[in-house]
Each structure stands twice: as structure tokens, then as C-alpha cells.
């Protein structure tokens, strides 16, 4: 499967993401720049983490209005798989590709640590290599990861199985409602999550709990 990574000024986790995709899929992803209006023919598009546009206005707000994100939306509409990690998640929300919003952490502090994630829905294209309810390790590093959605939206995504990852009990680092760490769209082809699975894909990282996510979406046998 072919993949592409979206590049925007201020993102800084793109290299980790490119390395992870290259190691797991065996081929380097294409890269697309913010002003690109076309994305190559790929099966997976990833918006990595960082601090696009210095988090000015709102995290991800300006990045979400760049031409490349219109192209990402068109691809998502056609069913191409899309993952946004951390700032990438914020960008997908601001672009309207996922419901809800990410607010400042309840503690008001930047959190950089490992959390435990529960696979809330293992029956997705992103999580089929995990067991239902499995708890995995994953690092987080963010200031604005406090997921919020109004009551109707929350009910809709909970009932629809769109909550894909939750912070396991006692590890919610940011105050997210219902311990939500990652959600997908109703169609199931767009995933956003605050934790960084690309930083836990091999022994040199101290573990590989993030690897099955990429193996799932890339259709690679474990």
C-alpha cells in the first residue's frame, strides 16, 4: 500500500512518521506540501504532529485552511484512508473531517509522557490487528488534547462506534470527555488521535505497541 505524508510549516513529527511508514510498509511515503492541490494516488494519507503555524489562532486552524487540506478532504470523500496524529488530529477537526474539538488540557500544562490506551473499537480498518479492549502503551506530547463535543455529537460517536481509542482508567492526561483519545468518522476511513503510535513501533523505541495500527491500515500481516 502506498502512503503520503502532509507537510506544513511548524510540523515537527513528520520525520518520525515517514520513518515509521517506511519501516512498516517497506516503501517511503510520498510527501505533499501545504500548497499542493493534488495528492498522488495513495491508499493512506497521514497528517503528522507538531505545531503548524505556531498554533496561532487555534491549534490546527490555519493549517486546516491550506490548499492541501482541500485535497485531503477530496481524497477522504473518495474513501482513501486518512490518519491525523496530535496536531494532525487537531487539523482534521478544524478541517471538519472529524466531529468535535480539542481544547487546552484541563491541567493547563503541556503533557509529555506515556499513557495507556484502550482499544475501544477493534473492528475498524485502523485497529483490526488489536484485540477488542486491549490496553496498549503509547506516548503523548501535547498542550491541547482535551477532546470536547456537544452532547448530541458525543452520543452519536459513542453509539456509532466512532470512539476508537480511550485513555485507560486513571491515565487521562488532558481531561478529555469520556477519556477519548482517538475517534474516526462515521464512514470509518478517517482517524484522529492525540497519542503518537509512530513513536512506538520497534524495540529501539522500547516497545512496538503502535505498530499494529499501521499494520492494520496498511494491510500488512503482523
Amino acid at each position: 500500500m502506498k502512503s503520503a505524508v502532509v507537510l506544513l510549516p511548524g510540523l515537527n513529527r513528520d520525520r518520525d512518521m515517514i520513518a515509521a511508514l517506511t519501516k512498516i510498509s517497506g516503501q517511503a511515503p510520498d510527501t505533499v506540501w501545504q500548497t499542493d492541490t493534488e495528492i498522488p494516488d495513495v491508499d493512506l494519507i497521514v497528517v503528522p504532529g507538531g505545531f503548524s503555524y505556531g498554533d496561532y489562532l487555534r491549534c490546527g486552524a490555519i493549517a486546516a485552511r491550506m490548499p492541501v487540506m482541500r485535497a485531503v478532504a477530496e481524497k477522504a470523500q473518495k474513501g482513501v484512508m486518512v490518519i491525523g496524529v496530535c496536531n494532525g488530529f487537531q487539523i482534521l477537526l478544524e478541517a471538519g473531517l472529524l466531529p468535535g474539538a480539542l481544547m487546552r488540557n484541563a491541567s493547563l500544562k503541556f503533557v509529555c509522557r506515556e499513557v495507556r490506551l484502550q482499544v475501544a473499537n477493534a473492528n475498524t480498518a485502523f485497529t483490526r490487528r488489536y484485540q477488542p479492549g486491549q490496553v496498549i502503551r503509547c506516548p503523548v506530547a501535547h498542550h491541547d488534547g482535551n477532546y470536547f463535543a456537544d452532547a448530541d455529537t458525543l452520543k452519536r460517536i459513542e453509539d456509532g462506534g466512532q470512539v476508537v481509542f480511550r485513555y485507560a482508567e486513571g491515565t487521562n492526561p488532558n481531561g478529555s470527555v469520556n477519556d477519548i483519545a482517538g475517534i474516526m468518522n462515521a464512514r470509518g476511513n478517517v482517524l484522529g488521535l492525540m497519542p503518537h503510535p509512530e513513536d512506538l513501533i520497534e524495540d529501539a523505541h522500547g516497545g512496538a505497541d503502535g505498530r499494529p495500527l499501521f499494520e492494520s491500515v496498511l494491510g500488512i500481516a503482523a
Binding site: R58, A61, R65, A101, R104
Partner: protein, 79 residues
């Protein structure tokens, strides 16, 4: 024309920053502070003199960029 856009958090949206500011005001000894909600103000200079048109344009700017209508309300005023 000068315009001011005010963006505030919707009722029911938690505002940890506002809470922290509220706490700091109380620490400073300001009595009678019930609660604080923080928001943003944008001062925009606009060409032309069509006030109604400017308001329309500012609302479009809010919908498309200045506010995240999932969590925020906005108001515009043109002077």
C-alpha cells in the same frame, strides 16, 4: 472602516484557562468575581464604506476561520 470581532466560548464548553484566570483574580484579592470566561478579540481594518457588506464579510470570516463554531460564538461590530 474599523471592525471588531469578538469570539467567546459557547455556554457549556469547559474553559480551563478562564478558570485559572478566575483563580488568579481571587488570589489578587478582587472580591465578588463570580466566574471568568476568556475569549478573543480581532480588530480588522476594512476597505470601503459599505457597513452592511462589511458585516456580512466579517460573519463569513468568522464562519470560515476566526471562530470554531463547534465550541465558539462570535459577534461583529463595524464602526
Amino acid at each position: 472602516m474599523k471592525a471588531r470581532v469578538t469570539v467567546t466560548l459557547k455556554t457549556g464548553v469547559l474553559d480551563p484557562q478562564g478558570k485559572a484566570i478566575e483563580g488568579a483574580l481571587k488570589t489578587l484579592g478582587f472580591a465578588g468575581v463570580g466566574s471568568v470566561r476568556q475569549g478573543k478579540v480581532f480588530d480588522v481594518e476594512l476597505d470601503g464604506s459599505d457597513k452592511a457588506g462589511a458585516e456580512e464579510a466579517l460573519k463569513a470570516m468568522c464562519e470560515k476561520l476566526l471562530a470554531n463554531t463547534v465550541i465558539e460564538n462570535y459577534s461583529v461590530s463595524v464602526s
